[in-house]
């Protein structure tokens, strides 16, 4: 049976269509679920095996990107989400979804309601839409099984993607191997240089997971590179087969199916 994926929407969610497609392509049975449906209990998280919070500008990025939805989730769905996470079901937050996960406190340490890290305005001071190279690190993350050590490509599109955590938190993330993706330069080395590191993230962090590896948040958009023609240079590079982002969804589906 295909695992059921809850694709969470709210006002201003806008990467839902392509994320839905990526989930379908990866073998999930996705459904768009509005946060109002969860609040009204007409949809229950427990009926799903996978939760995906897609990109967008929920509530206009007002106050801080993802903040208003994070407050809403913590205020009304804290228990359902905690239960979902505690059951080991995978949670994926992309771009705005990553911002939401960090602002709920689910990342990095599964502490609902406690903000331990932040995605702050880009060092360049502006929105950046460009392709980046990412190194997949050796981590417990279930979304990147079989990918560790590879350098993959995806686009970013955000104005608030600079990962920041206070030094002790940063240290803990490194010790527990929670940094899943890092921005790298042409030689494959993590970089602070713009634009290879498009936002000035600490330690070139592009995505992190929780200690168990079932919650993943990343700024780049894996759903925008699941098919070869989505790559800006598929013609010159003769790309065929799958886009690099699809593996993330396939891993999520495989893991959810095994629960």
């Amino acid at each position: 049976m295909k695992p059921r994926a809850c694709l969470l929407r709210a006002e201003g969610t806008n990467c839902d269509v392509e994320t839905f497609y990526a989930l379908e392509l990866a073998g999930a049975d996705p459904r768009m679920v509005h946060v109002n449906e969860l609040r009204a209990r007409s949809q229950r998280l427990r009926d799903y095996q996978l939760l995906v919070i897609p990109g967008g500008f929920t509530y206009g990025d007002d106050v801080a990107a993802g903040k208003i939805l994070a407050v809403e989730l913590i205020s009304f769905l804290r228990e359902e989400i905690s239960e979902f996470v505690a059951a080991g079901k995978p949670v994926l937050g992309i771009c705005n979804g990553f911002q939401v996960l960090v602002r709920t406190g689910l990342l990095p340490f599964r502490e609902a309601g406690r903000v331990r890290a932040a995605l702050i305005p880009n060092r360049s001071g502006r929105f950046e839409c460009r392709w980046v190279r990412l190194r997949v690190e050796e981590t417990p993350c279930v979304f990147t099984r079989g990918l560790a050590g590879r350098v993959i490509e995806m686009p970013v599109a955000h104005a608030e993607g600079r990962f920041y955590a206070p030094p002790p938190v940063m240290e803990e993330l490194e010790t527990r191997r929670q940094v899943v993706f890092r921005y790298v330069d042409g030689a494959g080395a993590p970089t602070a240089e713009y634009p290879a590191n498009p936002n000035g993230s600490e330690a070139a962090v592009a995505g992190i997971c929780d200690a168990a590896g079932t919650i993943l948040g990343l700024m780049p958009h894996p759903e925008r590179y699941v098919r070869p023609v989505q790559h800006p240079n598929w013609r010159r590079l003769g790309i065929s087969g799958e886009g690099h982002g699809l593996a993330v969804f396939r891993n999520a589906v495989a893991y959810a199916a095994g629960l």
């Binding site: 990467c15 392509l25 500008f57 106050v63 602002r103 903000v115 305005p121 599109a157 955590a165 699941v226």
Partner: protein
């Protein structure tokens, strides 16, 4: 009491907004004395306690790992100058609704109103004069913003609605009629007298609602008087402009067209039961006085045109085409009442960026053109494209008893007189008089409205749909109900604040509102779907069957107009047109002397330089459909000619979008310039792999107020469009004109903005695998130039401009011959014989080759044949020419036998572009060209 929370970055964190402001102060104002700028966000709440505000600060407003806050006291005390800027009361701050929502989610129920603003703290010495410059030029747009000097007493706006006024029109003299028109109605005397006669016959005077509805419906913006007028050209009668374009397009009988000039956008068939639609609009007047809000609401408006097509479409792409004065225009040359081009460009881009990005619509095709004569008013063109089921692609018609439902945002005093205002000249006093004509967009409102309406469409609930744009309900309901009649209950319209008079409710141009006609039995379900998306939907009227436009406010009838008079009663104008070309000296074409420095100058010219910094701020990849991006190649810096999307994810079908415009040529020769624009739009699409047989067109005429001469120019441009349609079989499916690009200064100076014809082309491609990009793919490949051109036709070219020369020899395009070129290029691309293709435009073939090299990180060797004049050979800008990189073994003679082609040279390894001119070899390092090409926009937007 108002509670104030101030939030700022903790010490030690960089403040990008403050740093950006400091850099901008140095760059554009030359102010060096400031060592640091800090920014503070100021939130204000009404109706809650200090304790609750403190809770909000901790739970919502401030994340203490990198921010700090204060409650009801200043956060920064050590700055040399501290100033707060906020929206004016009445200008809707989009953030306010989110603040109220989040507070409620946190259990705070007493919040009545919220607002926010920004404080700027400057460290360093600033003279009084410098402070004034920073405020006037960088921080405060007085149209919508103000400096906050004290805590406001309240954030709530309210008032009593004004009474309905009866206008004593029947007794007015001509002078009184004109006085009424001048700042309110913008109608001419003949129109006013027609209205006067109408009410004399009725035996009563009109209400303010009636006179406003008539003025709006008859405004140039809404009814296109000039385009529909009887014409006399050089004394001879001629078919009206609009009719010419429509008739030629109809006669083309293009098999893909589903709906043309019928609906809010033009619709063509796509694949597998789907259709795509396109619409392009201008938003010049609002953008000239408040570029951020003007451009944002321009995007919002054109998106709603797509949302309001058929029974509703999903917006899948956006385009933006701008014309400004060059960014290096000295401040003293900015006309009184106008804004500097750097400010305009940055703020217009920000407006398009924020609306498109937040709405989740990729902005992925566009261009920016610069010419001194745009200093009085920019041209801001925004397009939108949509996807909808072919079965729901035809404009719906309400039936009697259907209900009129407003969906989306609330109605406020926004944009009143926007429709009539954009038809008036721009004057030095425009900024003051029409301040309320601009507003800030709310893209999230529009996005959730779109989500709700698409769900309603899929359930078959939508009979007809249109957007509330210029003219508000007056226009939306007046047009939707034109055939059956409609009654509106104005007191049921949800308002942003109390105090709106009935005529204001009717005319308000508040954004993000759609009007839907729904069968009575479906209304409840529509409202339910909207509620599930947090969207307000309210029944505000019904379609009647009496063919009248009526409205009531409570028990009072405030509007009762016959639809026939409203829509057909306007006296038709007769306009005279007579074109006379400008006096332009005919200089000899300057010889090409120092090729490397000329090529660097061409690449660094405002109209050639890379616009990548703009594109990188647009989310051009959202929706995951991008199959040919605006920029690609080895370092993602090579520009492509068109965008190709795969809106049905996973399917091979492409939607191609491209455009062309050339204001400089339009002024020299409107006929040739218009053909150039048409040819350029289509050639851009063909260069990407489009089949010319599967493309359609959209026109946008942006013209000075048409006196005889400019109307003559317009007549010629329209003729060119018609000739183009007849020669190519490509129809227009949508179009718009904006005939107000004239500026009148306080001292009587008149500036005519160059006439602009923007042609957009869109169409379908069966398989995106058969498309090409512009970046060179490998060394040792032939570069050929395909197309018709006469090299000495150099008028309007960058080459001539850089040499300070002028000419009347404009590049002439023959559309019949061009069709053969397109077919040949398309055949070659489809056959896989073309590895890279780039259309020749500003900068000529030399610039095209250079851009292809930069994209592919490869060099090229270009040979100028003996006997050719190198300047025109390399820099001629005739549209409809292509530089193609051929696959090894491809034979140009076999591919392009029937049309002119020649070998330009070949590609080589190594970062050098080499030119062979007889014995001479000129080597130009690509790095030099790239630096020159990237510099101009980096200077405007930062590195």
């Amino acid at each position: 009491m108002i509670q104030e929370v101030r939030v700022a970055w903790r010490e030690g964190f960089p403040d990008p907004q403050g740093e950006g402001l400091r850099a901008e102060m140095m760059r554009s104002l030359g102010i060096e004395g400031v060592a640091r700028v800090r920014t503070v966000k100021v939130y204000r709440f009404e109706g809650i306690t200090e304790g609750e505000a403190d809770y909000l600060a901790r739970a919502l407003l401030c994340e203490d790992i990198y921010q700090e806050y204060t409650l009801n006291r200043p956060l920064i005390r050590d700055a040399d100058w501290l100033v707060e800027v906020a929206y004016k009361p009445g200008v809707m701050n989009p953030e306010a609704t989110s603040l109220v929502k989040a507070a409620r989610d946190l259990g705070i129920t007493g919040l009545v109103a919220a607002d926010s603003g920004h404080e700027y703290a400057f460290y360093g010495t600033l003279s009084f004069e410098e402070r004034r410059l920073v405020l006037d030029r960088l921080l405060v747009n007085p149209t919508v913003q103000r400096v906050v000097t004290a805590r406001p007493a309240t954030l709530v706006i309210e008032g009593e609605p004004g009474p309905v006024e009866i206008i004593p029109l029947r007794e007015m003299t001509d002078d009184e009629l004109l006085a009424l028109s001048r700042d309110r109605l913008f109608l001419d005397l003949e129109e006013l007298k027609t209205i006067q006669r109408h009410f004399r016959r009725l035996g009563r005077d009109p209400t303010d609602c009636e006179i406003e509805v008539l003025a709006q419906t008859w405004s140039e913006h809404c009814v296109h008087k000039t385009f529909k007028a009887r014409l006399e050209v050089n004394g001879e009668p001629k078919v009206p402009l609009l009719e010419r374009i429509r008739r030629a397009s109809e006669e083309a009988a293009h098999p893909l067209v589903l709906s043309a000039f019928e609906d809010n956008s033009g619709v063509i068939e796509f694949y597998e039961g789907w259709a795509v639609c396109g619409k392009v609009e201008t938003h010049n007047a609002p953008s000239a006085i408040e570029p951020y809000g003007g451009a944002a609401t321009g995007s919002g408006g054109v998106f709603r045109d797509v949302m309001g097509t058929g029974q509703g479409a999903r917006v899948i792409a956006s385009t933006d085409m701008f014309c400004f004065a060059p960014p290096d225009l000295p401040w003293e040359e900015v006309p009184p009442g106008c804004l500097h081009p750097v400010y305009l460009l940055r703020r217009v881009v920000a407006g398009v960026r924020d609306y498109g990005n937040r709405m989740g619509v990729p902005t992925n095709n566009g261009s920016v053109h610069f010419h001194r004569d745009f200093r009085a008013k920019p041209t801001v063109i925004v397009g939108a494209y949509g996807l909808l089921p072919a079965k729901k692609a035809i404009r719906g018609r309400p039936k009697p008893k259907d209900l009129a439902v407003v969906v989306g945002g609330r109605t406020g005093r926004d944009g009143l007189h926007g429709a009539t205002f954009s038809s008036a000249h721009m004057t030095a006093s425009t900024i003051e008089v029409h301040a309320q004509a601009v507003q800030i967009g709310h893209p999230i409102e529009e996005k959730r409205t779109s989500d709700a309406l698409l769900a309603a469409r899929d359930e078959g609930l939508v009979r007809a749909i249109t957007d509330c744009g210029a003219g508000g309900f007056s226009s939306a309901a007046g047009e939707m109900g034109a055939e059956v009649g409609v009654h509106l209950y104005l007191d049921r319209v949800p308002l942003k604040y109390t105090g709106l008079a009935p005529w204001e409710i009717l005319l308000s141009e508040s954004q993000e509102r759609m009007l839907v006609a729904v069968a009575p039995e479906n209304a409840a379900r529509l409202v339910e779907i909207c509620r599930a998306h947090n969207v307000e939907a309210t029944v505000i009227g019904e379609f009647t069957g009496n063919k009248r436009f009526t409205a009531s406010y409570g028990s009072r009838k405030v509007l009762d107009l016959d639809m026939g008079f409203l829509h057909q009663g306007r006296p038709r104008r007769t306009c005279k047109a007579c074109w006379e070309p400008e006096e332009v000296p005919e200089d000899p074409i300057p010889p090409l002397e120092d090729l490397p420095s000329v090529l660097r100058a061409v690449m660094g010219h405002w109209n050639v330089c890379s616009k990548e910094p703009i594109v990188r701020m647009y989310d051009h990849g959202v929706q995951g459909a991008l199959a040919l991006p605006p920029f690609g190649g080895v370092t993602h810096a090579g520009p492509n000619d068109a965008v190709v999307l795969t809106p049905l994810l996973g399917r091979p079908y492409g939607l191609v979008i491209a455009h062309g415009l050339n204001p400089i040529l339009m002024r020299l020769d409107p006929y040739a310039g218009a053909l150039w624009a048409c040819a350029e739009a289509v050639s851009n699409a063909v260069a990407a792999g489009a089949d010319p047989a599967e493309l359609v067109l959209i026109d946008n005429f942006i013209w000075p107020v048409p006196d005889e001469r400019y109307l003559g120019a317009l007549d010629l441009a329209v003729d060119a469009c018609v000739d183009f349609v007849r020669a190519t079989g490509m129809p227009f499916v949508s179009g718009k004109d904006s005939l107000s690009s004239t500026y009148l200064g306080p001292d009587g100076t008149r500036i005519d903005i160059p006439p602009v014809l923007c042609i957009s082309a869109f169409g379908r491609i069966p398989d995106v695998a058969r498309t090409v990009s512009a970046d060179l793919k490998g060394p040792g490949h032939l570069l050929v130039l395909v197309g018709w051109r006469r090299p000495p036709e150099m008028a309007g070219s960058v080459y001539l401009e850089l040499h300070g020369a002028s000419s009347r020899q404009v590049p002439r395009v023959d559309p019949l011959r061009l069709v053969e070129v397109w077919r040949a290029v398309h055949r070659a691309i489809r056959a896989g014989a073309v590895l890279a293709a780039h259309d020749v435009s500003h900068g000529g073939p030399a610039a095209a080759v250079a851009e292809m090299c930069l994209g592919g990180a490869l060099g090229a060797e270009v040979v100028v044949p003996d006997g050719e004049d190198a300047g025109p050979y390399l820099f001629n800008e005739t549209a409809g020419n292509f530089v193609l990189e051929l696959a090894p073994g491809a034979d140009p003679a076999a591919l392009f036998g029937g049309v002119p082609w020649r070998v330009l040279g070949h590609t080589v390894d190594g970062p050098v572009l080499t030119f062979r001119l007889g014995e001479r070899r000129e080597r130009v390092p690509l790095a030099d060209l790239e630096a020159a090409w990237r510099r101009p926009m980096r200077e405007v937007f930062g590195p």
